[in-house]
């Protein structure tokens, strides 16, 4: 493992911050290993996105706008990544730890006979070994895993774990050849975008989450969303809220939902039981609003304000807006 390859997730050329975080980390890791930093961008809009990525410190960006990538699930993208990996040579492959990223990582690792480290929040070189640092067992343990000697290693990286720093002298953009004719079987028949343009829960720097205390679905729209929007974040929920059908399960944070590490987590009407805690305990700062001062979240929140969220949140949104626009 000498080079670093980052797989770029995007939709029609639109990507998320994690892409730039990985491009930045790919450079640092490649320098430490004495190799080059590559990126793979395939599907509609790849060329335009590659131009944007030139603003980041990569060496080579491999592109192909093959329509099969958007027509069939996973397989074409994995074939392209495999093609690049084999042409580049021994490498660590960095992939965002998102729904799609995890799918691609599991497949490419098996295909390349590579080790897989997942949900990684830090990378450290120790005695020539590449150590992947990751919270496990619901964040109750921090493990460092190393790849055993092999040509390839695959790592899924938790968004918001590395800084995104523009720079470099402009990568070379090359076209990656379409892999030899294959029959793809997983046909994407239709697609709907429900959170288009918004940051995914796992990547948002700020998450405003609601729980049972909100009493219904409306406050998620009327109370939490304006606050999240003002802070440049997104809305999440506890299991109780998802189970009640107030929000889709895709917004659920915790044991059976998503594990996130935003810079700021605001919990509104969430008691903070262990099942919830394991999904957000690694957040930078935790602020809770609850009418009950004895809820478990008080034991690990940086600030618990005891009061009526329906009064506090709109005021807070108002104050923040005034500051932003000042």
């Amino acid at each position: 493992m000498q080079h670093v390859i980052t797989f770029v997730e995007h939709k029609g050329g639109q990507t998320r911050k994690v892409t730039f975080e990985l491009a930045t980390e790919a450079r640092k890791l490649a320098d430490a290993l004495g190799g080059k930093a590559h990126a793979v961008v395939v599907g509609a809009g790849a060329q335009a996105l590659a131009e944007t990525l030139k603003g980041y410190p990569l060496d080579v960006i491999h592109v192909n706008e093959d329509p099969d990538v958007d027509r069939y699930l996973l397989d074409p993208a994995i074939d392209y990544l495999e093609t690049v990996a084999k042409s580049v040579g021994p490498a660590v492959i960095l992939i965002p730890n998102t729904l799609q990223g995890r799918d691609i990582a599991g497949r490419i690792a098996a295909r390349l006979g590579a080790g897989l480290t997942s949900d990684v929040t830090g990378i450290a070189l120790e005695g020539g070994k590449i150590g992947s640092i990751s919270p496990k067992l619901g964040g109750t343990s921090i493990t460092t895993c190393a790849f055993k000697p092999a040509d390839y290693g695959v790592t899924t990286v938790r968004p918001n774990s590395f800084p995104a720093e523009a720079g470099g002298s402009g990568a070379e953009i090359v076209t990656v050849e379409k892999p030899a004719a294959k029959t793809y079987l997983m046909l994407i028949e239709s697609e709907s975008e429900e959170v288009s343009g918004e940051l995914g829960l796992e990547e948002a720097p700020v998450v405003v989450a609601g729980g049972r205390g909100l009493g219904g679905p409306e406050p998620f729209e009327t109370l939490l969303k304006p606050l999240a929007d003002t802070l440049g974040g997104t809305v999440g929920a506890s299991r109780a809220a998802a189970d009640a059908g107030w929000v889709p399960y895709s917004l659920q944070i915790g044991q059976t939902g998503k594990t996130i590490s935003p810079n700021l987590y605001i919990a509104v009407g969430i008691s903070g039981a262990i099942q919830h805690k394991v999904g957000m305990r690694t957040s930078g700062t935790i602020v809770a609003i609850n009418k009950d001062g004895s809820v478990p979240i008080g034991d690990f929140a940086d600030l618990l304000v005891v009061g009526d969220a329906f009064q506090i949140v709109p005021e807070l949104t108002k104050q923040l807006r005034a500051t932003v626009h000042a």
Binding site: L187, E189, D308
Partner: protein, 262 residues
């Protein structure tokens, strides 16, 4: 149709006490081993398909672990699965996702399958890589994050959750499919189910029964654990009572400002 559900046994992180509706006893949690909660959704999806398809559809539970896992697998059988297989061998200790995927794929070949259903992330390791590895090793379509599932005429059609919405994807069987919680809450075992489960078969296969041609256990693992540490525990922060909306908002606003978060 032959459905196989792969499950992982994990330490229970659920510290809340609950009553088992079957035995009416307190379930003593703590360091108890349980079926990975995500995998219960895979079992639920399989049982729903079995009900819908009827006929000779069977559901087999497949896991890798110690023989003592039998009692835990009874729960899946009590829910309605037909039988279970444990691939159990001391040689499998310290297997990583690469080895697990490979060994399970060989067990699936031996058992036969039309559809393999996996849960999402495992609660302990959180790798989420096994379903992908199975699709690769078995050379069949690997659908992921399926929330709604239809099977007709040898074809699978799923509505799957994506990072930004939903997709409808179809693929021919045989296939591997990873499901989300969208398939619906796992059912509780009925008393009849619990009684019936005692008579169901749980086979134990040592690795000698599988046609393995790669190293397993530690030798086959592509990763090694260097260190494991406790994260710094989050200390108790401030707890402040707000008199009214504006004062509560000000407390938070000032706090965020102090931390340079606004």
């Amino acid at each position: 149709m032959k459905i196989v559900v792969t499950v992982k046994l994990v330490p229970d992180t659920n510290s809340e006490k609950r009553i088992d509706p079957g035995t009416k006893r307190l379930v003593r949690t703590g360091v108890e081993t349980v079926i990975n909660p995500f995998d219960e959704y895979a079992i639920e999806a399989a049982l729903q398909l079995k009900e819908k398809l009827g006929g000779d559809t069977t559901v087999t539970i497949l896991t890798m672990g110690p023989e003592t896992s039998k009692e835990i697998l009874r729960k899946a059988l009590a829910m309605g699965a037909d039988d279970a297989v444990i691939v159990s061998d001391p040689a499998l200790e310290a297997s990583d996702v690469a080895v697990t995927g490979y060994v399970l794929s060989q067990a699936l070949k031996k058992n036969g399958f039309d559809l393999v259903i996996c849960g999402g992330l495992a609660e302990d390791g959180n790798t989420g890589g096994v379903s992908g590895a199975l699709a690769e090793y078995l050379g069949v379509p690997g659908l992921t994050n399926a929330a709604k599932i239809e099977v007709e005429e040898g074809k699978l059609r799923v509505v799957r959750e994506t990072d930004s919405g939903h997709q409808t994807v179809s693929a021919p069987l045989p296939a591997v499919m990873m499901v989300t919680m969208g398939v619906g809450e796992p059912r509780y075992a009925s008393l009849k189910g619990i009684m019936g489960a005692k008579k169901k078969t749980i086979a134990v296969w040592p690795v000698a029964e599988l046609a393995l041609d790669r190293p397993i256990g530690t030798d086959g693992a592509k990763t090694e654990l260097l260190t494991i540490a406790k994260p710094p525990e989050r200390g108790k922060g401030q707890i402040v009572v707000a008199e009214d909306g504006p004062s509560g908002a000000k407390i938070i606003f000032d706090f965020l400002k102090e931390r340079k978060l606004v």
